[in-house]
Symmetry: C2
Subunit: 477 residues, 2 copies
Amino acid sequence: MNTTTVKFKLALFIAILLGGTITISAQIEDKPNFVIIFADDMGYGDLSSYGHPTIKTPNLDKMAMEGQKWTNFYVGSSVCTPSRAAIMTGRLPVRNGMTSKVHRVLQPWSTNGLPQSEITIAEQLKKGGYGTAAFGKWHLGDKEEYLPVNNGFDYWYGVPYSNDMDITLEMNEPQDYWNFWKSEERKEISSFNIPLMRNTEIIERPANQHTITKRYTNEAIEYIKEHKENPFFIYLAYNLPHVPLFASEEFEGKSKRGLYGDVVEEIDHNVGRVMEALKEQGIAENTIVVFTSDNGPWLVMDEEGGSAGLLRDGKGSTWEGGMREPGIFWSPGNLKPGIVTELGSTMDLFTTFSKLAGVELPDDRILDGEDLSSTLFEGKESPRETMFYYRGDELYAVRYGSYKAHYVTQSAYAEDREAHETPLLYNVDVDPSEKYEISAKHPEVITAINKIVEEHNKNLVKGPDMLKDWDYNPFGG
Amino acid sequence: MNTTTVKFKLALFIAILLGGTITISAQIEDKPNFVIIFADDMGYGDLSSYGHPTIKTPNLDKMAMEGQKWTNFYVGSSVCTPSRAAIMTGRLPVRNGMTSKVHRVLQPWSTNGLPQSEITIAEQLKKGGYGTAAFGKWHLGDKEEYLPVNNGFDYWYGVPYSNDMDITLEMNEPQDYWNFWKSEERKEISSFNIPLMRNTEIIERPANQHTITKRYTNEAIEYIKEHKENPFFIYLAYNLPHVPLFASEEFEGKSKRGLYGDVVEEIDHNVGRVMEALKEQGIAENTIVVFTSDNGPWLVMDEEGGSAGLLRDGKGSTWEGGMREPGIFWSPGNLKPGIVTELGSTMDLFTTFSKLAGVELPDDRILDGEDLSSTLFEGKESPRETMFYYRGDELYAVRYGSYKAHYVTQSAYAEDREAHETPLLYNVDVDPSEKYEISAKHPEVITAINKIVEEHNKNLVKGPDMLKDWDYNPFGG
């Protein structure tokens, strides 16, 4: 056990004695470790504890049971790149230009990445003396200057973008990409010439995706063992269950949910290994582990995509299924176990971890995060009251308390965009599936949300679009 | 603690020593108590442990965690009367005439009820010396001869049919009924002149539905206290969360899910009281408690209906949402805790309980139940391989292992009936939402299921229709 544990627990004890009238973050004199485990395209409904009938996730379920299972936990965007920009910077991607009118995510042929002017959560925690390491998918720029090791991470072992990129088959137009997923070639590793990198060097190409979940975990565990004496921040971002789906021999065919379930069960197994390693090293009590996913399930992939459970739509959409995710917080002995129905967001991690690490928040920019400490440690109401749902650089919807107003609606991957003069209104606590429109019944809520939007827009400076420029056009256009 | 507990636990211990090679039911020399808790119209997705984000069900979640959470657990029909006939008799309702071409459920003006020739689970357990009591909704006939006390129960305290019947407002045609649910009158107890009965006597009319969940539970707990020295069977069938929704003062406005959530949380609270009472009386370890619901959520009731989670459609439908339900088994110390993805059905309770009670199964009729003991106590595969989904007296679909073939499809409450020459095929383990039709890929499965249907039909003798006859026509027809 490292020496920080005792102080951390003592601080919590004092906070409890004091009746929780001051936030826990003020009490922590020492620095807990942080581990973010980030799945890719896993849906709200894909864990047994979130209601999936055939995917078995005993480790994540245990994490949820011993810790807190958040049921209104949001990502910053419904697709990969902007969602990752949001968790990394604690800001809406529209502020840092990581979302665009032209393209939804970065491609291997994209010119840019996360602007250097942005402060990542890793850079932020380094200010507090943290060791920082990333394992897995990045997707915030694959040019050297944009890679994790140039954005606050001491170390990185992973893949620079999505595991479906660098397809080796000829693609002449975007439709070829969708057709490919019905072909047999999608099952071959060699169809995806993706690079596995260590820091700035490519060490394997194509990456063997069958073993990639396990290898990311091995490296993370190694890091935990080597760095347990000092506070650390680990960002463990699995490439899966994004398509193409690959499982190891041990897991292929294991689940009743088909290959998708095998892949999720393999991730669950490896999350269990991380928890076990933290326990074995005696630092679980001084670590906060968060598990979530970057966006909703990619429904157009049919059985190879996941499930948003009872939520509407999925990846790519500003309906709940696109942006609400499992959110599990685990820190044995520190968190009040239970189900938390308060609002939270991946953007809150930047703020919350900064507070717990004793690092000042930057005051030269707008942050979109809240400090969740008092909800995590004292069971208080979350300070988060709103969520802004952007598609590209346009605000589509706003959640305010139990309500959600849709100014624009559009299916995940269809051109059925519809703007609403009076926004569509849903009470997503009463009606999480967004079935029963109630704007006529609650004009006062619309008025309140309109004001929130007005306020939001006042301060909104959109970052220059980092996604629009391509070095070349792979479709020859 | 009654004396049966020790023997029951000893038998289990011996079974474990023997490596589980023989079924536990053969080991039980004594008679455990049975409690069936049956909700009404609660959907697959309405408990937190089955994925609902805002309904908090800590007691049922605890039951699921300490016991077994079944995720492929089916009722015998997608509407009340036949579903209740199925759990009572361990038989498909088509065999006992409790399903019909003409009407879906019994009405207060129906002539008939469950035929006396049927053997109820209560009659069956009485043969084994059990005390038997029913609390709550019956809906298998409201003429005296059809009431619980004339069908194997020593005692009954409850309502003879659904809590939305006996509406006091004028209804001239069926559409008036649906319009009523948009009116303010639906919120008044006095709009429902339903009788609360003790045995064969009406003791309150209209029943005060605000307190009915609590009062059923009070009576059940009283029964437990008074009968703990001898084996008993309790059937605790709450009228709620069927519309009209009513909660007590303590629960109204408590949940984030609106009145529906309040009602479910009140049921959860009362289920917790039953568990507590069993513990307090020292008989929890010698009792098997089962919690389930009679059919899927009544989706046409909008926010006043529940959710089937990721399952398709709801009450009234042979899609999964109509007939798959939460199924929680709890018996502290006896069941191997975990999530069970094997097939089970309410019809299996008749068979399983008979075995555990040492009562011979009737040999003069076809039973549709399986003995689930070895799955419950030894973690073995379920003996159930099939499920037959009837709508009225017509077979619509058949589940066989992971597959489900739809011979006829129809939405819950629409006239869009469609027969399929080649049945629609789904793998409901891989695709629980029944989205991806795969008959072309698996002709061998169709062949196998066709054979199962042929075999099923050979032995099928439909009971005389008990639902079609009315004493009078309330619509003046």
